[in-house]
Amino acid sequence: MASDSIKDSTSNHDRKDRDLGEEPLYDPRSLQYLEPTQASLQCSVCCEYFTEPVSAPCGHTFCRSCIEQALEVRSGCPLCRTTIDPSSLYEVIALSRICDELLVYCPHKALGCNHTCQRIQIGQHLKDDCIYIGTLCRVEECRKKLLKKDLSEHMESCPYKRVDCLMCNTKVQKSQLSEHHKTCPAESVTCPHCETTRTRLRHMEHIKECPRQIIPCSLSEFGCPWTGPRLELEATHIPQCPYEAIRGFLGISKTRMEALEQENKQLRGMFHDIRPQVQQLRDQVSELAESVQLMTQQEQQQAANGGGNGAYGGAIGMYGYMDNMYPHQGSQHQPMLSRNDSYDMVLAGDGIGENENEMRIMNRNNSLGAESMVSNGGGVAVDAHELLISENERIKSELETLTAGLASLELKQNMAIMTESMRMQEEVQSLRAVCHGLRMQMHYLLLEQQNRHHPPPGPPPPGSPAGGNNKSGGSGGAGGPGGSVPGGGRPLSTSGPLRPRFADGLGRQETKL
């Protein structure tokens, strides 16, 4: 049937995939049968000859594995859909025997095994007889995959097989035998110098004392150029060797040199340890220098502002007539200005000082770099190390002075700000007073004018002109009492400029400028 052929090819494919795995010797379902397919002996699920056939109560027969798998998916007979209890399946012994007696080819037919036997015997064949079954080389290091038939041939030539060295009786891998012969201690060797022959083992000892071996002078390390047979070294060369004469000195200088080298190495290590520290310090110093510069700039700016204020104070001072009224105010301006100026001078001086310091630091940095380069190049590590330490100290003290300078600068700046602000406050105060005095005078003048135009009893004009002129809100309150007692105001008006002064004293709290 076409359906069978179609199905066969798919299922065979799957099985071959599975067959690649090692242990089970063969898959019963992939066996090839000699007889043509008999549909009556085939499982209708896998379309192969029955393997372990079982029947269900409904009378249908399947391979055991086929029906068990099918029942896991759907619990009915695949042919008649009757429900099947897996425990009710029973083996069909006669059918099983018939199928087991079918003749099959060896599964390794494709590799060349032409063996055929009953299906039930194929396992035995594969286990014992089939020489086309895959196996591994028995040598641990090799483990090559090959067919059983090729094993004995392979064992002859397996490069990992161990063979005896005929000379020294040790086991050696076949592939390394020729290599071994080059080093085998039992191999006989001819000394290249004296042409005597002995085993390699003994040759090794011989070569150390062969009288004909060409050797250099024992003082060759100090520069003796002589080479010759060992025989002649003691006999003829040593008595003549110019280096022999200063042998003691050479030995001493050698030990000294070694000690020095050792020390040099140690110092170099220390130098390497210290280098990053120096770099760190250098960074810190440059950071500090920057911040100091910043501070100086701020100071200078502050000073410039202070100068502006001074000018402002000067402008105020130009209200000369005020000074008559408040003499104490004017006298205060001058000393304050001068103080400010002198302070600026100090600041400027400091700024210059800082710059000089920076210059010095930079110079030192440069010289330091040069020193480290020298020490690297020339290897005069000792000096460089000491230099570095002293440099370190110097940088540290530099740092300290810089920190102290910074602190004092800060203090100075704070002081300057404080005095400045106090001065400003006082100035504001005085200005306030001046303004108030002016307003009072104005008020007084207005009142005077009104009194002149409208003789005594007339109601005073609403204080609007006065209110309009005086822009401050508080002035209304201050002006109020003046305007509301016109009658009583007249006698007081004779007292002249004194009155605003009193009012000034009273209205001070209310005035907001």
Binding site: A2, V73, R74
Partner: protein, 132 residues
Amino acid sequence: MNPPAGVDIIDANDFKLWKLGLAGAQGTLYEGEKFQLEFNFGPNYPLESPQVLFVGDNIPIHPHIYSNGHICLDVLYNHWSPVQTVASICLSLQSMLSSCTSKERPPDNAAYIKTARSNPKHTAWAFHDDSV
């Protein structure tokens, strides 16, 4: 061995995907027509059914065949049995076509093809008509 009458193999080289030709049987509404079937075998075949659908330009016009090629046939889905083969499915389909009395699409064709997934096995089929 030969495929059943009216069935020819177009491509069966891939073990997972087969293409077959199906000819309309003589004396039926589909006489002279040629259709293409696609079989998609999953790893559990034959324990589970293959995915079967009509492909190509000519999808048979049949009350149980949707215009996207999906076939409403119980043995392809919940009435599958592992003893069924490609040949037995082809025979079932041919008998389904042969017993058809009027060439028309299923009444819910338009709605179904809009929502259906590509694999007809993901559709929840309701089998109600045993006559065709």
